[in-house]
């Protein structure tokens, strides 16, 4: 026989399933940036009469005077379960986690025409953690996305009953993703860890508030979309035999946070009772494909997300019990931007209902405490046309024959409890 014959005896292409694209799932927007607004179901665009106006509608800053501070945090405790994969109904529970996004605002009324403010908020964020051996491990294991903004806003009284505002948004963000990658046909998974950040992106916001009478107000608020260009590193722990095909090195990915356009109306029906309603349009269609670019081995993984624009309808009420006490309640409906076939367990997304209640108490003339509780219930979602392939972790193109991949069909349930506390102080 010939010597040194180098022949491949077994043609074999390693099926490397590093599709990390599902990392950013839908609805990672956080609107819980004030306990008072939260208590009113978030219907605050036409109210905006405290320092959190910086987030909800900057034009509201002209409604009050002096120097004011507001500091608060919201505890978010979501619960996710998945039952499947169809026809199996085995239940998998995501690890319970709690998050504490913080908000801080400072405002200054310069004169009768001008008011200024600066705010620090976390308008987007996401965290979910599943067991490393669960059935959907190639689709989602752990993710933590944190987005922060610092936003100076100026508001101007254009007319007696009309004020407008404009704000600059400086934002920085970080993301951590852990994921299992299949080493098929070899036993055992490779653990992929990615860390990325983007320290400097900019956006803007605009607002307007119109008060045709003392009891009636209308508000409009616009937040631009922001493109985050995450850069970071990927490291993979897997079999040494596969080292040449496992990603290690640099990774980059772009993610667009959607624009928001909110319309609000508020009416003081009796002196003690304020009613408020919002319609918030969210431009999620900007989130269509998420692409990860790896440096070693050089490879780009593009994944369709195909979000739809969506909206949130909010109703809220605030009742002044007495000069010291306010009680509040609200309800909202949040339309899911994610088509069922693209739902990924990183954040099981479906239409949501939110029920809130809250109270405010003037501890002293200068110090106010607001507290709110919000319960969010996701509609039960049964997916039977998933494009998420749980054997590989890839997303297959729409229209793919469901017998030619492993669709991640099953039933999602999710709910969340939120508690928010905010302290306001007026100099």
């Amino acid at each position: 026989m010939e010597e040194n014959v180098k022949v491949k005896i077994l043609a074999f292409v390693l099926f490397l399933s590093i599709s990390l694209s599902q990392a950013f799932a839908g609805g990672f927007q956080l609107n819980e940036n004030s306990a008072r607004a939260l208590g009113m179901g978030g219907a605050f665009t036409a109210v905006a009469d405290d320092p959190s106006a910086i987030y909800f509608n900057g034009a509201g800053l002209t409604q009050f005077s002096g120097v004011n501070f507001m500091l608060g945090s919201t505890l978010i405790a979501p619960v996710f379960t998945f039952r499947g994969v169809s026809p199996q109904v085995t239940e998998y529970d995501a690890t319970k986690q709690t998050f504490f996004p913080t908000h801080f605002y400072a405002t200054y009324r310069y004169n009768s025409d001008w008011a200024f403010g600066i705010g620090f908020t976390s308008p987007f964020g996401l965290g979910s953690q599943w067991d490393s051996s669960w059935v959907g491990k190639y689709l989602a294991e752990g993710i933590s996305l944190k987005v922060f903004t610092i936003s100076p806003v100026a508001a101007y009284n254009l007319l007696d009953n009309l004020s407008i505002s404009a704000g600059l948004v400086y934002s920085f963000a970080s993301v951590n993703i852990t994921k299992e990658a299949s080493q098929y046909p070899f036993a055992g998974d490779a653990l992929v860890t990615m860390n990325g950040k983007d320290n400097s992106e900019f956006g803007y916001n605009l607002g307007a508030l119109y008060k045709p009478s003392d009891n009636l107000s209308f508000g409009v608020s616009f937040h631009s979309k922001i493109l985050y260009r995450f850069k970071g590193t990927v490291s993979t722990i897997g079999a040494s035999q596969l080292a040449s095909v496992l990603p290690n090195g640099d990774v980059s990915a772009d993610l667009t946070a959607p624009l928001n356009l909110a319309f609000g109306a508020a009416y003081r029906i009796i002196p003690e009772l304020l009613l408020s309603a919002d319609f918030q349009y969210v431009g999620w269609s900007s989130y269509d494909t998420l692409t990860f670019n790896f440096s070693s081995p050089k490879e780009s993984v593009a994944n369709p997300r195909m979000y739809d624009n969506s909206y949130i309808v909010r109703l809220g009420a605030e009742y002044n019990l007495n000069p010291d006490w306010d009680i509040r309640a609200g309800i909202y409906f949040d339309k899911s931007p994610v088509k069922a076939e693209y739902v990924n367990p990183s954040l099981p997304e479906s239409n949501r209902l939110g029920f809130s209640c809250g109270l405010g108490y003037k501890i002293t003339r200068k110090l106010t405490l607001n507290a709110a509780y919000l319960f969010i219930r996701n509609n039960q979602l049964t997916v039977n046309n998933s494009l998420e392939d749980y054997a590989t972790g890839n997303v297959v193109p729409a229209g793919t024959n469901p017998n030619s991949y492993s669709p991640f069909n099953g039933t999602y349930n999710a709910y969340a409890n939120l508690v928010s506390l905010t302290l306001s102080y007026s100099l």
Partner: protein, 482 residues
């Protein structure tokens, strides 16, 4: 201060209200009940399920019996699918027998090198008070199910003096496979036995034993076994025996030799092909196989023979030196190994056409017996033979994942070329579930094969062999049919 006190009092009043709201709202989770599987469906009741069989039933893979493969034995997969308790005689990884693992793998070329893990595992739950639900014993033949109670009462010991340790480990002196199954008062039994009654003959190249179990004897044993199992009063499903000659153990090396041997050069030196010893021949031989015969499975080269393909043309008698045998009379080792009638390819490394016919004929006879017993006893019959033949000819696709009977890349067989992978076991389990559903009017859902993890083990150790053939360490198959 007074204000603060007011606040505290107020919060105390409201705490109850808030808690009540939380309680009410939390109740609105909209969790429509999805019913989990029940162990009873139609006329089938798998709440007390026992599987009887051999190494395939035990969950043996890649030349060893070890826990991380045992949990994917088809019996356990069925039990999990129907929510039934099922105990297994676990042996810690890397198990007993010498697990074959992939030492190196080149993703660019697909070349793999194999090694044998020299570590051994040990029984984990040998104190389990009851009998195991998984009563698959590696190496068991049809005789053993009713008769073997230990390593020295099994057929391999009685016939060839080879004590099979698995009978001691799994049966633990509590009686035969049959007796222990009966003791568990099962509501459902699966029986898959008889493979080794022909496989031992085939994997040894028709040398050890030199014939399969006598067909008449098999019929008598299996009929008695059928009567005995029927007497338990359980619902029963049996499986028949796949055509062993389509296993990757037999179909991998021959085509590679057809492809890689420099035939033009061989012919120019006057050799028409690969000279080999026909069945029972231990001396010089004029029979030969050309490249077409090797490529088209007219003769079958066994997988362990890949260890000796590098010796083709050798003129020093290295083969006999390596296997520790004296050179048989009539063999001239200075003639080129495999290419001379006086130094032919050994009988133990090849199934010649007659041996192939023998294996297929006996498989057919055994399957006729199994079908007859299943029919007369009212057992369900899993026709693994037909199913396996259809995969051998056309492959199988499960949710886009392709399977074939090819070695390693086919996905169905582990690295010993005989025993199924985890996913192969899941595919088998589904064949059982389909028969259970149709025979007993049950509606158990099938297993998602794509949710079953891959099972080819990558070695962590450094001993390996380089070569163009899958290369097995000496002794890799020693315990294959203990």
């Amino acid at each position: 201060m007074k204000k603060l006190l007011n606040l505290i009092l107020f919060l105390k009043e409201w705490t109850a209200v808030v808690l009540l709201v939380v309680f009410i709202v939390s109740g609105c989770q909209d969790r429509t009940n999805l019913t989990g599987p029940s162990s009873k469906s139609g006329n089938a009741d798998l709440s007390r399920y026992v599987s009887i069989g051999n190494s395939i039933t035990a969950g043996y893979q890649s030349g060893a019996l070890y826990q991380s493969a045992q949990v994917y034995s088809y019996g356990n997969l069925i039990a999990q699918q129907v929510n039934s308790n099922y105990s297994i005689p676990f042996i810690s990884d890397p198990g007993l027998g010498g697990r074959i693992e992939v030492q190196s793998f080149n993703p660019a070329t697909g070349v793999i090198n194999l090694t044998v893990n020299s570590n051994v595992g040990a029984p984990i739950n040998s104190n389990y008070p009851s009998s195991y639900n998984n009563l698959g014993v590696p190496g068991a033949v049809v005789y053993d199910v009713l008769n073997a109670t230990s390593s020295t009462t099994c057929a391999s010991y009685l016939v060839g003096g080879s004590a099979n340790q698995y009978f001691d480990i799994i049966l633990r002196g509590k009686g035969s496979q049959y007796a222990q199954a009966k003791g568990l008062k099962p509501s459902f039994v699966t029986l898959w036995i008889g493979n080794n009654d022909v496989l031992g003959f085939a994997t040894s190249g028709g040398t050890s034993p030199s014939t399969p179990t006598d067909a008449g004897k098999f019929q008598g044993l299996y009929t008695l076994l059928g009567d005995s199992i029927a007497s338990m009063g359980a619902k029963v499903v049996v499986a028949n025996i796949p055509d062993v000659t389509a296993l990757p153990y037999f179909t991998t090396v021959g085509p590679l030799m057809a492809q890689k041997i420099p035939w033009t050069y061989i012919h120019s030196k006057g050799s028409p092909g690969l000279f080999y010893q026909a069945h029972g021949n231990t001396s010089a031989s004029l029979t030969y196989a050309d490249s077409a015969a090797l490529a088209s499975y007219k003769v079958l080269i066994t997988l362990p023979a890949s260890n000796y393909t590098g010796l083709l043309g050798d003129t020093t008698g290295l083969y006999y030196h390596l296997i520790g045998a004296t050179v048989p009379t009539g063999i001239i080792v200075t003639q080129p190994f495999g290419f001379s009638p006086y130094n032919p390819w050994p009988d133990a490394l090849i199934l010649d056409p007659a041996e192939i016919t023998t294996a297929e004929t006996f498989t057919f006879e055994f399957n006729s017996t199994i079908a007859g017993v299943a029919s007369s006893q009212g057992f369900g019959l899993v026709d693994i033979n037909s199913f396996f033949n259809s995969i051998a000819s056309g492959g199988l696709v499960e949710n886009g994942i392709g399977f074939s009977t090819a070695f390693f890349v086919g996905g169905l067989f582990s690295l010993d070329g005989v025993h199924p992978t985890n996913r192969g076991q899941a595919i088998i389990a589904n064949e059982f579930l389909k028969v259970i559903n149709s025979k007993f009017g049950a509606s158990y859902s099938l297993i998602n094969v794509d949710a079953i993890p891959a099972s080819i083990v990558l070695a962590k150790r450094s001993m390996f062999f380089k070569g163009i053939y899958p290369h097995f360490a000496p002794g890799a198959f020693k315990h294959l049919l203990d």
